[in-house]
Symmetry: C2
Subunit: 202 residues, 2 copies
């Protein structure tokens, strides 16, 4: 059966959920309460979200994955694979996150306070990494390199998002992404001529 269409149901459910999570915490909030606050039924909730946790992740993570992978595929070949990933992240930042600083910060606070949400967040991040690695494969020498590049890109993303959600400066997320990429390049640059020599354990 087709789910009945409810105008703006997703947005109303998410707004209601955010309010309730802030008022009484994630764990104490039930799906019934979220639906009631949004003026909808539990059934409508479950037409849109698999569980209470998903209200914080959908449709953001799907959209982000689509934008980032589409942009990687469309990127000119001259860009290095890692630059292509960061380009995709920049477009997603401008399209999805830039205008929603307050909502992103509040969402981050709720997630950080709740272990089961952190776990879901980690799983979403792993899924994004896999999708990026798939999109990178034609640009990389082998599959291992594509996976490593995707992970390096996620590291840039995670670093930039954390700095952007914690700052009081009014700078766009894209600046933090560009800066995190520079910082990662600084951190991985070989600063000494010596290779790593570790004593063998005997």
């Amino acid at each position: 059966m087709m789910p009945r269409w409810e105008p703006g149901a997703v947005g109303r459910l998410q707004a209601a959920a955010f309010e309730l999570f802030a008022e009484q915490g994630f764990e104490r909030t039930t799906v019934a309460e979220i639906a009631q606050r949004a003026g909808l039924t539990k059934r409508t909730f479950f037409n849109h979200f698999a569980d209470k946790r998903e209200v914080l992740f959908n449709p953001v993570s799907d959209m982000q994955r689509e934008i980032v992978t589409r942009e990687i595929v469309a990127c000119p070949d001259e860009l290095s694979p890692l630059d292509a990933v960061v380009h995709g992240l920049l477009v997603a930042a401008d399209t999805m996150f830039e205008e929603r600083h307050t909502a992103v910060v509040r969402r981050q606070e709720i997630i950080e306070a709740t272990p089961e949400l952190q776990e879901r967040e980690l799983r979403k991040r792993a899924a994004l990494t896999e999708a990026i690695a798939d999109a990178l494969r034609p640009r990389c020498a082998d599959s291992d390199t594509a996976v490593l590049t995707a992970r390096a890109g996620l590291l840039v993303h995670q670093t930039a998002m954390q700095r952007w959600t914690r700052t009081t400066e009014n700078r766009p997320l894209r600046d933090f992404l560009a800066e995190a990429l520079l910082d990662l390049r600084g951190v991985t640059a070989q600063t000494t001529d010596q290779p790593v020599v570790s004593p063998q354990i005997t």
Copy 2:
């Protein structure tokens, strides 16, 4: 009350758990069954492990954290912070993992087949990252750089462990760590003169 000392209880419980997980899966195995197979009581199990999941993680993750952070602190200043992390990981590899390839592979298979174990693994990895960042702070310009370096180190670790547990070649884990570090340096090296230029979304 002091827990009663059981000779080799941890090792016996872990061996029993591994056997049962392989035979009937993680989810279908109970703590009572693990204790029985090991010839011990449930109570002894809970003296050593907080829950069924921990039998796959303790004491390995605590030991690894101690070795890696101790080695970072003791590292000569000439090594770059990232090289210091990889040095710590090399020592842990030689001490803890090198001789246990089969057990590490089997453990990895069990974790990959069970979402709740993957979540625990991700949380352990986050805890290791934090401990490494703390150990790196005196070597880094600021706390943000220490965190980013720790994450880059974990990326090297994760990449090397995956390759080592999937390979049929008989090469030591330390080779995979050195190689993953080189690969990360290759992936992050700027290959074009152009900075990333992304079209502004208008």
